[in-house]
Amino acid sequence: MLHQIAALWAKYSYVFLQGLGGTMWYSLISVAFAVFFGTILAVMRLSRFKPFEWLVDGYLWIIRGTPILLQLYFFWLGVPKLLNLQIPEDVCIITALIVNASAYVCEVIRAGIQAVDYGQTEAAKSLGLSDFNAMTRIILPQAIKNILPALGNEFIVMVKQTSLASVFFLPELMTAQKTVQSATFLPLPAMIIAGLIYLFVTTVLTFGLQFFERMLHKSERSVA
């Protein structure tokens, strides 16, 4: 078995690595857009404007209450039908990943904002700062310390979750693994290699994140 794995790796490493590249790319772009939209959603949710609140709650309700695979199918098949448009498959899938991740990132950011002492908002308001300035200059810069580690976790979740894109044969690690399987009829070694790559990446990211968190706490001790 070890021998088979080594042989497979020697011959197909570039397929796996390309797949990994796809996985990282999908994860990065999804999380990046999700941070953008998630922040807007979180701020909308925390505004005292009821229609915004209902809108965001409805969105969270749907996204968190349905399986992500269904959401991917919806964007892959349903949305192009509804809009009567030809949309590239990877755009559909990435959009679905963003829409899904935005919901979770929204919650992460909302929790981060709410963890900032309310006295900070009151002090900002008492100085006459507008809501926008209070949020961008006082609250978010402090919330970011709570938010960044949680976003790192979200990214690690995303690295694993993009494997669902293999259902639609988008070029990422799971798809690469399938490709090698069908080319070689060696399912187990291919799976093991893919598994080891995922483990390697998530482990490195987890350690990196822990290191980063320690740095944040250190700077916090000397500052706050």
């Binding site: 009151e122 100085l127 507008s130 810069p141 000397s222």
Partner: protein
């Protein structure tokens, strides 16, 4: 204040029939009161009597349930009023300081004037320096508040409010969270401020201070101003049994 001497005839804040409920709990009951320019008004009273809530209604940090808060002839509680704009002229200092931990001492002071009054940065810096010197913090200008003592944080909070050149400053128990040895340094700053003619409304448990610096003392009880008068009226000659009872406990 802009250097002009205060006109004690001028009403700066007028509160009319102010009531405030939190759910079923009525915290303020139909309060009508005026604060005049240059006046130093202390608010005393038992815990839970509504002192903080009253103070926070003055700059609309709490929205009145009914009644009006009129600041410089503008009804702040009215619709379509840009409260943020008017809050720039109503400073506030909190019990727990609420300094901004992610900004340096100097940035704490310059942030609001540069953002909201479009004061040029060098002008804002110059004024921050002046204010810091005034309260003995100029050597801390580039520190983060995490490195300051409680008394220093509160002095910073006071000059942060002053940097907006407010027409009145509201203090909510500014020394209650301080270690005893730091109370004096903060009270001294407030005293100096009172002497410059700044209009001050202060909720305090420091009876000696209230007696010494106030022009007028309001005693609050169960959501009302139960008694008021000069420091002598209240501390030597109180009429209301509730005032007498309260003072006998704290003095």
């Amino acid at each position: 204040m802009n250097g002009a001497s205060p006109n004690p005839q001028r009403v700066l804040i007028r509160v009319e029939n102010l009531s405030k409920n939190f759910g079923k709990l009525q915290v303020l009951r139909d309060i009508t009161e005026s604060i005049h320019e240059g006046e130093v008004v202390s608010i005393i009273g038992p815990s839970g009597s509504g002192k903080s809530t009253f103070l926070r209604c003055l700059n609309l940090l709490e929205r009145p349930s009914s009644g009006r808060v009129i600041f410089e002839d503008v009804d702040l509680s009215g619709r379509h009023v840009n409260v943020d704009k008017h809050r720039q002229k109503i400073g506030m200092v909190f019990q727990l300081f609420n300094v901004f931990p992610h900004l340096t001492v100097k940035q704490n002071i310059t942030l609001a004037p540069t953002l909201e009054k479009k004061l040029p940065k060098d002008e804002a810096d110059r004024r921050a320096e002046e204010l810091l010197t005034r309260v003995g913090l100029s050597d801390k200008r580039d520190e983060y508040p995490g490195r300051l003592s409680g008394g220093q944080k509160q002095r910073l909070a006071i000059v942060r409010a002053l940097a907006m050149e407010p027409d009145v400053i509201l203090f909510d128990e500014p020394t209650s969270a301080l270690d005893p040895e730091m109370v004096g340094e903060v009270l001294d700053v407030i005293k100096d401020l009172a002497e410059t003619g700044m209009t001050i409304v202060i909720v305090t448990h420091e009876m000696g201070f209230a007696r010494e610096v106030s022009d007028r003392v309001l005693f609050m009880d169960e959501g009302r101003i139960a008694e008021q008068g000069s420091p002598d009226d209240i501390f030597k000659n109180a009429q209301n049994p509730r005032t007498i009872e309260f003072l006998s406990k704290v003095l």
